[in-house]
Each structure stands twice: as structure tokens, then as C-alpha cells.
Symmetry: C2
Subunit: 147 residues, 2 copies
DNA sequence: ATAGATGGTCAAGCAACTTGACTATATGCC
DNA sequence: GGCATATAGTCAAGTTGCTTGACCATCTAT
């Protein structure tokens, strides 16, 4: 593969990622929620059993101050709440509210809708193959902002 | 495909895109250039024959003021220069300098290096397939920031 | 010739991050 | 138990990369 092709691949990947982000966000807004794309990653981390601000910061790859500000915002808007941590009095467990869960489901629906438009172009099996391969090359560390 | 799978696909796509961006940027820096990821998209647009600030703004999906600031920066750092536009005295044509071309080549090398690590995992043919499919679903409009 | 559109810049404002400083609680060691 | 150090979280201030608004110079159409 030539170098210029690799850069074209990178451009295509970023374009697809940006487009998908936009579509999911639009879909979430259309369902009556307000959300910034970064929230999706936060919600994903909070979803199972909640998380502390520091854990969230690690997951998002930002400082704990930035994570704390993000939590302030989603709490203020009713998507999550801070609870005392069961075993560590310093920490506070941030958990999704029912509204937070509803927003998460809306994001899943919006994502499914966007992916469906890919299925129309590529076919079901190719999308599955794409999914599988992306899963194998995607890193597992903290999320990094794409640009 | 279930909704939650679609969201996982989105996450994988964004993670891969973020990781690739980071690697390319690191590679460019390691080759002695300083560059922000957004520059890559700007350089791509400037490369063939130069572009005006307004064209660049359209390509990047930002205001012309933002594009102008970006041009200020890459000019100040020696990657491009502003020339009088050949047919429109209002406009100024922004073109890459030799250093700008060298940086572009460095980005291509870094991208190729990053993609090579994918080849190790997926194999050459799967990477080609990935490339092909991404090319078909990537939109052709202005680049959108991924988050 | 003139009215409106377009290319570009200057200035101010804003949002999302950062670094630095601090308090409260936990942990390890004697 | 008592103390040194590490960790969770917050407050405050600074930085950055964008935005909106205002403006001038030049082009284009009538």
C-alpha cells in the first residue's frame, strides 16, 4: 500500500467517524435530548454501575477537573446524580438517572439508524465484516479526541 | 443488528479514528514537524494548487475567520505562504512551501506506518477491504470534527 | 454607475479544556 | 494510635480554538 493511500484511508476513516458522530447526535436531539458527543462516552462508562469522577476522567482521557465539569453539567440537566460512594468517603459515585438511561437508549437507536444507512450501501454482511475488523484494530485504552 | 451493537460499532470506529489520528500526529512530530491534526485536512486541500481562505473554510467546515487564523499559524511556522490571487484581487491564494510539502510527505509516511500495524493484525487483504468499504460510506462534504 | 454579493481581516466573546493550589479522606508504616 | 504520603474531588485562573459581529476592498450584474 502506498503512503498516499494510507493517508486517504485515514481521511476516509475520520470522515466516516465524524459523519456518524453527527448523525447520532442529530438523532439524539431529534428524540428530545440534548447531548454533546463526548457525553456518549461518559454515559457508556457510567451505565453499568456508575463510576467516580476520576474513573471517568481516565476513560475519557482528560483531567479529573474536566471530567468533574462534565459531570456537573449532566447532573444539572438531570441525566445523572452524585451519590456517596459505598466504601470510600472521599469519592462520589456518579450514576445515571432514568432520564440518563432514556438518553442512552436514544443514542443506541440513533446509532442503529445511521448504521442502517450503511447497510443500504454495503449490505448486511459487509457491515458485519467492517464491525468485526474495526473491533480488532480499535485500541482499548482511553478514548482520544479525534482532532 | 441490535441497537447496542450499532453503538459499539460507533465506539470502535471513533476509537480507531482517534488512535490513528494520534499515531499520525506522533509520527509527524517524530519527523521534526509540529502539526495539529486539523492541519492535515488543510494541507490536503492546499496541496494540489493552493486554495483561498474561504475555500479552505468550506473544506474544513469552519468559519472563514477560523480558517484565516489557521492559515496565519501555518504561514508563521513556514508551511505555507499567501500569494496574490491570479484573477481575483480580493482573494489571496494560500500555497504550501517546500517545508509544507515535506510535512505532508511525513504525514503520509506516518499514516502508512500506522496502517502497517493494522496489516499485522488483519492481513493485507482485509485492510484493503476495510479501505474500500470506508471509502464507500464516507461522506464527501466538509470534514466534521469528530467530537 | 451603482447596488449588492463576496473575499478577507480585526475585535470581542465563549466553551471546553488545561495547570496550580487546596481540602478531605484513605492507606501504609512505625 | 499516630504520622507521612497518596488519592478523590473541587475551586480558581489561564489557554486555545472556535464563534459572532463589524468592517473594508473588490467583484459582478443590471
Amino acid at each position: 500500500m502506498q503512503n498516499s493511500e494510507a493517508l486517504a484511508l485515514a481521511a476516509a476513516l475520520l470522515a466516516a467517524a465524524g459523519d456518524l458522530t453527527q448523525r447520532i447526535n442529530d438523532g439524539v436531539v431529534a428524540r428530545g435530548f440534548e447531548a454533546r458527543p463526548a457525553w456518549g462516552f461518559a454515559f457508556t462508562r457510567l451505565a453499568p454501575d456508575g463510576a467516580t469522577v476520576t474513573e471517568l476522567a481516565g476513560h475519557l482521557g482528560v483531567t479529573k477537573q474536566a471530567a468533574s465539569q462534565l459531570v456537573d453539567e449532566i447532573v444539572r440537566k438531570g441525566y445523572a446524580e452524585r451519590r456517596p460512594h459505598p466504601v470510600d468517603a472521599r469519592a462520589r459515585l456518579v450514576v445515571l438517572t432514568e432520564r440518563g438511561w432514556a438518553c442512552t437508549r436514544a443514542a443506541e437507536e440513533a446509532a442503529a439508524e445511521a448504521v442502517r444507512s450503511w447497510t443500504d450501501v454495503l449490505g448486511e454482511s459487509d457491515v458485519r465484516a467492517l464491525c468485526d475488523r474495526l473491533g480488532r484494530i480499535a485500541p482499548h485504552g482511553p478514548i482520544r479526541p479525534t482532532w
